[in-house]
Subunit: 245 residues, 2 copies
DNA sequence: CGTCTGGTTGATACGACTCAAATTTGGTGG
DNA sequence: CCACCAAATTTGAGTCGTATCAACCAGACG
């Protein structure tokens, strides 16, 4: 199967054989990060673009008194901050959720790729714009939705993102987040997340057990979450020809 | 005085005379938008990059039942979505808060600018990364801060951004937002915003009346908000040489 | 088999919401 | 310049969603 990044970029545009080969070669190094370890911390100088090859990670910010907000999740095929190296210091941290396989990409390598492959450059722009769109949707999520809608929305988003990189089918996917992670991502307490998950189970919208998620009826869950997929911008031409659904 | 955009980009890097001239010429057209009108709506196809020359605008998203979240404010010198034209449809709307003067920039014009002025290109990248950082901070804001901290934080952010484009000095600035706008931006109700503003006034952290904001002691307000300015990335080399403080 | 992390339950508290009405402000036309 | 109206702000009373605190339970693991 094609690597996650290729699948992800092809959600935006079709890539040629050459494009795909170039994308596959972008990350020469790969390293393992243990679960719950940080890849990089707030205040540090960003040097590489991190590409998630396997596992889940998160971007988070903390307040001086310890309150913590997860502001993004990363799944395979996601970059943590394209172009961050332009900034002088990280304003947030990136932490591993599960065991990670990460590719570190240098500025030079990225510049070379974009210089030679305009279609890939476009696709990378798209990925960066989609990440911004996701961040906006999260602001809407914590700002306006109820706990029930909020968690439902997050589950649908993650499911759909995993689906585009081939890691979710038929309503099933791995789900390594703890209720604490969900709490930090939704601005709720772990206790309330627990009770809300029970409600979602009671309503037969999800089954969640032992790090596996099952969504029996995605449309019903989307309705409950008021989920509008437009912000993921998966609407490229000829998408109806794609498989993977 | 230099136009807002130039001031803003120079918060990142020093620009040459040529760079500044090129930036000043980027928007050939300019049009007026009445307060409370939309520049562009969710679902529409983005064609131009909008540059705010005068006035305040906001980016917002709505849920089917009418709940509304403002996910960003724009002040003079801000772009609404650099590079959006890559996407097929808007996933949010942009609305005028006060009377706007807007520059519409075509894709071609932007491509020409970035092709010829690498320093400007860098600066535009920076501006786009800072906007993402602001969006993340907003997620933290609505997710973790109390109403009091949340409003304080927003006021500090807006003050600092206005300051970098020369529109705020000595703790004073224009402030065209209604309490309703503040509510939609912070995920609170207008009633609660009202009571919280009264608390902030009582604590002598702000004076806010007739669309003017005065912050008697910025450091005290920043403390109350747990405001850490790192996410605005204003820390370029030689910033201590700059005036405007 | 003990320890630990993650999940679950119960009781109570409080921050923010809702609804409804009054008051002030700002703009507009006569 | 005043009368009028709409928009924005303010106030009060009552309610509710979510937080807090404190146990307790269940697998996973060495």
């Amino acid at each position: 199967m094609a690597p996650a990044l290729t699948l992800r970029l092809q959600a935006f545009t079709r890539l040629s054989e050459d494009d795909r080969a170039a994308v596959a070669k972008i990350s020469k190094t790969r390293r393992v990060v243990a679960p719950r370890r940080d890849l990089i911390r707030e205040g540090e100088v960003p040097r590489y673009i991190h590409l998630i090859l396997e596992g889940w990670a998160c971007r988070y910010k903390t307040l001086p008194d310890g309150r913590r907000q997860i502001v993004a999740f990363f799944v395979p095929g996601d970059f943590c901050d394209l172009n961050v190296y332009i900034l002088k210091a990280m304003d947030h941290s990136i932490g591993a959720i599960s065991r990670l396989l990460v590719g570190d990409i240098s500025r030079d390598d990225m510049d070379k790729l974009t210089a030679d492959y305009p279609r890939v450059t476009q696709a990378l722009w798209w990925e960066s714009l989609v990440n911004s769109a996701i961040q906006r949707e999260w602001t809407l999520n914590v700002g306006q939705r109820t706990a029930y809608e909020r968690i439902a929305h997050l589950l649908v988003e993650l499911y759909m993102r995993l689906n585009t990189v081939g890691l979710a089918q038929n309503g099933n996917c791995d789900f390594p987040l703890t209720q604490n992670d969900l709490a930090d991502a939704t601005g709720l307490t772990a206790v309330h997340v627990n009770r809300t998950l029970q409600e979602l189970r009671r309503d037969k919208l999800i089954e969640l057990d032992r790090r596996r998620l099952h969504i029996p009826d995605l449309d019903k869950l989307m309705d409950a979450a008021m989920f509008n997929p437009n912000y993921l911008h998966l609407d490229h031409e000829g998408r109806h020809l794609d498989s993977n659904h």
